[in-house]
Symmetry: C2
Subunit: 319 residues, 2 copies
Amino acid sequence: MMQIIEIVPNYSEGKDKVVMEEIIAPFKKYNGIKLLRLEMDASYNRSVVTVIGEVDSVIKGVIESAEIASKMIDLKLHKGEHPRMGALDVLPIIPIRGISEAECVELSYKIGAAIYEKTGIPVYFYAKSARRSQCENLPDIRKGEFEGLKEKMNDPFWKPDLGKIPHENAGAIAVGCRKPLIAFNIDTDSSSKKKVLRIARKVRFSGGGYRYIQAGAAKLSDRDICQVTMNLTDYTQTALYQAIEAVKMEAHRYGIKITNTEVVGLIPADCLLSSLKYYLHKDEEEDLKLSLNEIIELSIEHFKLRDFSIEKVIEYYLD
Amino acid sequence: MMQIIEIVPNYSEGKDKVVMEEIIAPFKKYNGIKLLRLEMDASYNRSVVTVIGEVDSVIKGVIESAEIASKMIDLKLHKGEHPRMGALDVLPIIPIRGISEAECVELSYKIGAAIYEKTGIPVYFYAKSARRSQCENLPDIRKGEFEGLKEKMNDPFWKPDLGKIPHENAGAIAVGCRKPLIAFNIDTDSSSKKKVLRIARKVRFSGGGYRYIQAGAAKLSDRDICQVTMNLTDYTQTALYQAIEAVKMEAHRYGIKITNTEVVGLIPADCLLSSLKYYLHKDEEEDLKLSLNEIIELSIEHFKLRDFSIEKVIEYYLD
């Protein structure tokens, strides 16, 4: 069986399409890689790229891409709303098929070492690849950003895993294996951001809620309603249906109803299927034989998904 | 304002009522202390005592009680189903009124030091009082039990906070400040322990559920139904209503209904009141002026509490 991974490199360039096209060119060059998304954000001045593919091809592609980014992006001149410390700022590596989490951790070490060798950019291993507890959480590593890197690296506590000093214009890179992150939003019928934020606080881990839910509140730009914006950081432990039902339950306090839900980016079919079982009154371990199209149809119905189609499911790009 | 704390000392004697009466005598001797409960468990061979009172009186009482226990209980002869490492095995200290958590941590250090001075029994500070991360979780400290203490204390990682070697017959004591623990069970209409355990797994932290819920499944001895047995380890973060609604939601998958709930031991009125607000559609921060009797009546109604009365509320013993 082929080993398939997803990578979601974040680059510190969100305005110049020509530059980004050069940076992502290696992902179009090899067989066995698919470039799924390029999301450029001008105010963040940052681009998020989603690539899936067979391990060896992805490795080749991402090392080349990191090298190009280190030549074309100069952090000394970079301004944007999103915190950043590197040209290729962070490289998450996600197991998709035929590869274990442990193998992905090993892979992250290999990729980090290759990038460091080619470019001299120092590397921190984060998330599941963290070799020290202080490196588990990306925002902690990135705190102080590019401008504070030199001083930070002088502190033995924050010495990079590879390298000793920041790259002159490309800073540093965080590389690590993590679970697929599900970006999932729930629309309410309320225009009160205050109340929707209270709902979000009660469902998220930091407020005593579910272990793998991060959540906040946001106003929808096109309508006068608010949504609970969420990341599910391990959907195999805290499921989509739990996020939906917990929000529904908390909203009930205020007489607020949920109207729709929304997946941002890509989602593994397994995340949909396992939560469908809840609504179909099946046990988690029961086998539920559904085609990809059936999964999508039932998900739209039971999760009230809007703007959803097969293009949002990772498996669509695999076969 | 008087500073009121609760202590819940656990002693390794659950069969001999005469011995336990001597051990708890100091809690009956001073003004300003109330002995609320003595629960002896023969198969555990362990007693759990609940005491509340004004700080100075409780300190005097518990130091005397620890001394008596160290003379009357011999761990070398002790057998029971519950893990244990000391005569007075663990001493949780809980802030109730007019005292902060930080002050209770200081108090635990003072009490631990006094017990060590009087008896020579080594002390581990655990929970909020832990001085090292390995001491936060009581079962980790207790692992190896009385019989393994000598070897354990030789390991620098497990050196006690006070003392160096186990007390010959009284072992060691864990002392620490913690939040009030709410022991709360939810009865279902199901006789399938397997299914009820699956429900418990989905609501508890270790299964991806709520941050401050520990849960399991148990068959009720008198009827052929199962309950979800829970500890809420911080009800100010994960509330009673969340435990109830999450169990209801997970049970829905199996067509199982919840019939009643049950508080084991004592509960602060505030824990009931804050969850009542959910069912009364009030915001958490809204003031809800209710007498203690009204709180109890509404709690029985909304939480479906059985076998509940004012004697289960800590505040009943305070004024």
